[in-house]
């Protein structure tokens, strides 16, 4: 069986496999990986249709010459089929392979003259790096799949094997690592792996202003940080469920506090995805109905940008929330595109200053001036001012001095599970 492609003089499919076998055994001996780059020309069928197969062959030949010139012996070149090439690159890791692929893309994208027309070719490239114990055929297949993923993304691009987006359980395509997080998230949602911890917010006069509900997620005893599961939840749409779960659990907790004789407010974070949804109002009412909570005991925390979102759904949802009797608070104020002038239009009763202002106190006098100004303005607008992330007495002294109403932070209390909160509240009211 011939192992050479007659048009380009490159090894064909059969020759490619033989060379891959050789490189695999070399890699095992040397301990250095090698890479396979699978190149597939985009829309090549149209080239054949427009210029005939002879024209197509001319394009392939000129591409082959470009590859040979560019690689200059750095890689073995093979032709796998009509418009598919494979590069076998010895002693090459993932980063090197990615750089090489980028280099190849620019080589491919130089215009080619066919007759008196000019063609602008592009290609999709898949990369796979040899792994110990893997067969050569498997490795080639991985490179092929990565190439197909690049093609599915619209072509003219590079995808490394392992990074191909795979459809997750809810039909949204995700990278491998995200897929693992999605699985954990489903497991947590179906096995009681979520819970809320509550962090008290202490008023300057000593009473408890509110408790903020903070979501915790754990799978098989291992906790997953929000920074990891929130982005995946946002991508898959599970964020809505997480937010609604919080809403109901927070409201049920408020009811239990009420039944135990505390009218402490429970602050619940609301995500952008929830608030832009036309179903938010229904979900809020459903949570209030199922929990039987006093609406006035529920406080929704939203970032400033959400309040300023002028879309119909958001404005209607905010209006409906107020009409339902729940309170609104501006979370993380002072970061992002905060605008003091906007405050007058925001229907919130509470302003939470971002921790970024707190950690530099009391030394940073300019930060303190900003806090003082925001506090005064907030008070003028009838808002309660809360400072987040307070850990030191000096910070708290400075904040109270400029008129901040309430303090949240490790200095007073860390977030705690529900079963610890009630004893904590009882002990506090006893003293």
């Amino acid at each position: 069986m011939s192992s050479i492609d007659t048009l380009t003089g490159f090894p064909n499919r059969f020759g490619c496999l033989q060379m891959a076998e050789q490189l695999s055994s070399d890699a095992v001996v040397s301990g250095q990986p090698y890479a396979i780059l699978w190149i597939d020309m985009d829309r090549f069928k149209q080239v054949n249709e427009s210029f005939g197969h002879m024209g197509g062959d001319e394009v392939i030949k000129s591409l082959a010459i470009r590859f040979r010139t560019r690689m200059g012996g750095r890689a073995e070149l093979c032709r796998m089929g009509a418009d598919e090439f494979v590069l076998l690159v010895p002693r090459c890791d993932r980063d090197q392979a990615q750089r090489l692929a980028t280099e190849l893309c620019s080589t491919i994208e130089e215009p080619i003259a066919v007759g008196n027309l000019v063609l602008h070719p592009t290609a999709s490239i898949g990369i796979a790096i040899f792994e110990l114990g893997e067969g050569s055929l498997e490795l080639l297949e991985r490179a092929d799949r990565a190439m197909l993923a690049a093609k599915t993304k619209g072509g003219q691009g590079v995808v490394c094997s392992g990074d191909e987006p795979i459809p997750g359980r809810l039909g949204v395509t995700l990278a491998r690592e995200e897929l693992a997080v999605e699985n954990s998230l489903h497991f947590a949602l179906e096995n009681g792996g979520l819970c809320l911890h509550y962090q008290p917010i202490i008023h300057a006069h000593g009473h408890i202003e509110a408790v903020e509900a903070l979501m915790r997620c754990s799978v098989n005893g291992e906790s997953i940080p929000p920074g990891k599961f929130i982005p995946v939840a946002e991508k898959t749409g599970l964020i809505i469920r997480l937010g609604e779960w919080c809403l109901l659990q927070g409201a049920m907790h408020a009811r239990r506090l009420f039944d135990a004789g505390y009218d402490t407010k429970v602050a619940i974070n609301v995500s952008r995805a929830q608030l832009i949804s036309p179903k938010f109002t229904q979900a809020l009412h459903a949570a209030l109905i199922c929990s039987n909570a006093q609406p006035g005991q529920i406080e929704l925390e939203l970032t400033e940008s959400l309040f300023m979102d002028v879309s119909d759904h958001v404005q209607r949802n905010l209006k409906n929330a107020l009409a339902a009797g729940v309170r609104l608070a501006i979370d993380d104020f002072g970061t992002g595109y905060s605008c003091l002038a906007n405050l007058k239009d925001i229907p919130a009763g509470k302003l939470k200053l971002d921790r970024a202002f707190v950690t530099v106190l009391p030394e940073d006098r300019r930060a303190l001036s900003v806090v003082r100004a925001m506090t005064q303005l907030g008070h003028e607008l009838g808002m309660t001012i809360v400072a987040e992330g307070c850990e030191r007495q000096e910070e708290i002294d400075a904040l109270l001095e400029v008129g901040v109403d309430a303090i949240q932070g490790y200095f007073y209390a860390r977030p705690m599970p529900e079963e610890q909160l009630l004893p904590w509240l009882q002990q506090r009211s006893a003293t």
Binding site: R169, L170, G171, H186, F187, L189, E190, N191, G192, G193, C195, N220, G221, G237, L238, R241, E244, W245, L247, L248, Q249, M252, K279, T281, Q282, A283, H285, A286, A287, I289, C290, N320, A324
Partner: protein
Amino acid sequence: MMNEQNQGPSAVDDLFERTLLDVGIPPCPVVLDRFMAEVRKDEPDYTRLANIIGSDVSLSAGLIKTANSPYFGVRQRVRSVNEALTILGLNTASRAVAGIILRKTFPNVPNLERFWDASARVARLSGWLAQQLEIRGLRAEDAYTFGLFRDCGIPVLLGRFPGYQAVLDRANHDAQVSFTEVEEEAIPTNHAMVGCILAQSWWLPEEICRAIRSHHDLRALTQAGSDLPMLSRRLIAIAQLAEHILQHQLGLSQTQEWCKLGEACMQLLDMEEARLEALYGEATPIVSSDE
């Protein structure tokens, strides 16, 4: 096998009863009686007891949520009553049911006869249909669970809004406007949303929660860009088909849902009219069965 006197209530019992209270839907008194009658026998029939519990929305939800709670540590996720019973044990379940009756956990139970009866029947027939139609990826147990919990928002709303029964009647008879839109004209939410929020808190799979949320939403079922997972759509279709067959065969409580959603459901289940005609007859034993 049942020896309640010798065993004091355990932490699990407390957990189960608290969970039932959180579920917020009273169990059906007839089911409670039927369950206790079986438990009191010298040799209670385990399968029969499981079936009795499985026919009640409240008890099933309570059992599944309890079995899925972190109290039981790392286990396989539970999505049906049978699986939940295996984990909790029949003793616990029986003690809990006895406790509910004794302590009158749910006083002033509104008249939910129709709701209890309909959910149990829809669940049973949905499970059977899932087996008959052999749709890839659709488990009969999921179809049963969905059928049972699909309308669990209704008793909650009946307990909260005095005029809600009249709203339900209007929604049932409206041939144009979707069921939930009719509800929203009168109350600030709808039973599908309430049901979904509850199911989420019972740790049910996302596909079942989404199906509960959208089970009257024709657009979510048919639109090309709909983000409703395919499994959720098929669950909705199968339960709607079950409801239709029940109404067709029993001729009671006719609703307009099949007129509004039937065509979409048939497409989702890849079914021809002839197959439906045949199913009317084949389903008779399930339709007329009481448990």
